[in-house]
């Protein structure tokens, strides 16, 4: 049931019959044994990989002729590939894992041994960015070409679906606040719709702008996202500043806001490829900042109508910064990872400037 990685200090899990057979047939290869359900699982190093795989397929006492599944997995610092085998001749089954570091995602292909691996490897390549050396044709299979990111990696966020929902909620909150400042009347149903519409318009504008500038889809998304974030911030700060008597946030609202801060910080940290420790620290800092802000009596008040213009400008400026940074990075011939970091850096600088 529990999965333990083998360490010298801890008693290693009992190797199963297959693992023992493998150790016997392939002396000198390190097999880390993992206890999993249904299948015996061994983890091998990348160096021995091809040799082990050839033995698995070819050796008469193993004869794993059926590759039933090949999966990738993202463990934040390492990428893993898992092979599930079955042998029709002997009726035994085995799972083999191999890990590769994040910045060097290369694993030798097995598509010449099992034809079934062909599509699986293509899919794993496009989803996780693991390069299967020697694969005849690593075109993307399910997604379009030139996507530029790896959807199943943990650093890749889900699409904007939550944003829209949050949009509704924040629209409702806004309506409430307006109602409160207007003297307790029931919220006019128009205003919330208006805000949602304004947001949609903003998104569209940002998108069109990005398209007009000929940004790549990735940059475009970033620009739109930036615009939305800005809008959201404005809504919040503007509302706090605009209300006659800034009512302290209710417990629920506070918790929600906090959760939002945490989520944001975390996804940012993930996006920058931080380690788990750093990520924690980063999030903690964000929370601290948030609490301080709350204690300090909310964001500084600002005139709402003036902001209406500036937020779009700001989003545009931000988008420009992103584009510039990206182009610079490309011109310098950076790798994708580095490029991302570079852009993130530029954005941070920009925000710092804005805050100042």
């Amino acid at each position: 049931m529990t999965q333990e990685t083998v360490q010298e200090a801890a008693p290693p899990p009992e190797p199963g019959p297959l693992a023992r057979l493998l150790q016997e047939l392939l002396p000198g290869v390190g097999f880390a044994i993992t206890v999993t359900l249904l299948d015996e699982t061994v983890t091998i190093g990348r160096d021995d990989f091809t040799r082990v795989m050839e033995t698995l397929k070819g050796h008469e006492r193993l004869r794993f002729d059926y590759l039933r599944c090949l999966s990738g997995a993202d463990y934040l610092t390492e990428l893993e590939t898992v092979y599930h085998f079955y042998s029709f001749e002997h009726g035994h089954k085995l799972a083999v894992k191999v890990r590769c570091p994040y910045d060097d995602p290369h694993v030798p292909t097995v598509s010449h041994l099992w034809a079934a691996a062909n599509w699986h490897e293509r899919e794993t390549h496009e989803m996780y960015g693991i390069v299967f050396d020697g694969h005849p044709d690593l075109r993307p299979l399910l997604t379009e070409e030139g996507l530029g990111y790896f959807p199943l990696r943990k650093s890749h966020p889900l699409a904007d679906i939550e944003e829209w929902q949050e949009g509704y909620l924040s629209a409702i909150d806004e309506a409430k606040r307006q109602a409160a400042s207007a003297g307790g009347e029931a919220a006019p149903p128009m205003s919330k719709v208006e805000i949602a519409q304004a947001k949609a318009k903003l998104m569209k504008e940002a998108r069109d702008k990005a398209r007009a500038e000929g940004l790549s889809p990735e940059d475009e998304k970033a620009a739109v996202r930036a615009a939305i974030d800005k809008f959201q911030e404005d809504l919040e700060s503007g509302a706090v500043g605009g209300a006659a008597a800034p009512a302290p946030m209710s417990k629920v609202e506070l918790a929600q806001a906090k959760a939002k801060v945490i989520t944001k910080a975390r996804s940012e940290a993930r996006g920058q490829g931080m380690t788990t420790e750093d990520e924690k620290a980063f999030v903690a800092e964000a929370i601290k900042k948030f609490s301080e802000e709350q204690a300090g009596g909310g964001a500084p008040a600002a005139a709402a109508p003036k902001k209406e213009m500036s937020k779009i400008e700001l989003a545009q400026a931000k988008a420009k910064v992103i584009t510039k940074a990206r182009n610079e990075a490309r011109a310098k011939g950076m790798s994708t990872e580095d490029e991302k970091k570079f852009v993130a850096e530029a954005l941070k600088n920009f925000s710092a400037e804005q805050d100042a």
């Binding site: 679906i161 939550e162 929902q165 509704y168 909620l169 409702i172 417990k251 629920v252 506070l254 918790a255 929600q256 906090k258 959760a259």
Partner: protein, 185 residues
């Protein structure tokens, strides 16, 4: 040739059977009691208010995030007409995104939401997607006008599938629920 003759025999036999189709728009098949159309809210006729307290449990458990709910203090409570402390303020359900998984019904502690088992729950074609985002009034209409006669609420369903403990609908439960929401946020 023999095979074709055999096939012909089969078709001739089938031709003598009664048709199995119905002339849909004019003639409608009876829907089974458990039929799962899109979710709707229920109206509490005793208290003349919705059952829904706006506790947001359904919104949190909906796998596709298509519910948006907010809660408000129940004005009827102040007037002493109802025992519900909190009541739903806004309720938006995006039918275009809903996948009719029944999860919101199972997790609701107040039996406030059910799957529509009438034809109105499935005949929902619209010209504009935005029209499929229904608000509280539209969701309550079915039940309020009495057209949702006998909704399927499996009494064991909720407790048994382990989603959430079924709590009595009393003030205590509402309070714990409300504070829970605040805590988990």
């Amino acid at each position: 040739m023999l095979g074709i003759l055999k096939a012909l025999k089969t078709t001739i036999q089938a031709a003598a059977r009664k048709p199995v189709t119905v002339q849909y728009p004019t003639e409608k098949k009876e829907l089974p009691h458990r039929s799962r159309g899109f979710p709707v809210l229920l109206w509490d006729f005793d208290k003349d208010e919705p059952f829904c307290t706006g506790c947001q449990v359904c919104a949190r458990y909906c796998p596709v995030d298509c519910i948006t709910v907010t809660m408000k203090d129940n004005p009827k409570k102040a007037a002493g007409k109802s025992k519900r402390k909190k009541i739903v303020d806004h309720f938006y359900l995006d039918y275009a995104r809903c996948m009719r998984c029944d999860i919101c019904v199972e997790v609701c502690n107040f039996d406030a939401i059910v799957m529509n088992n009438t034809w109105e729950g499935v005949e929902l074609s619209r010209y504009d997607r935005q029209d499929l985002v229904l608000d509280k009034d539209a969701l309550l209409k079915q039940s309020r006008t009495g057209r949702l006669k006998d909704p399927f609420r499996e009494p064991m369903g909720v407790a048994h599938s382990g989603w959430s403990p079924k709590v009595e609908e009393d003030e205590e439960a509402e309070e714990t629920n409300a504070s829970e929401e605040g805590g988990e946020g």
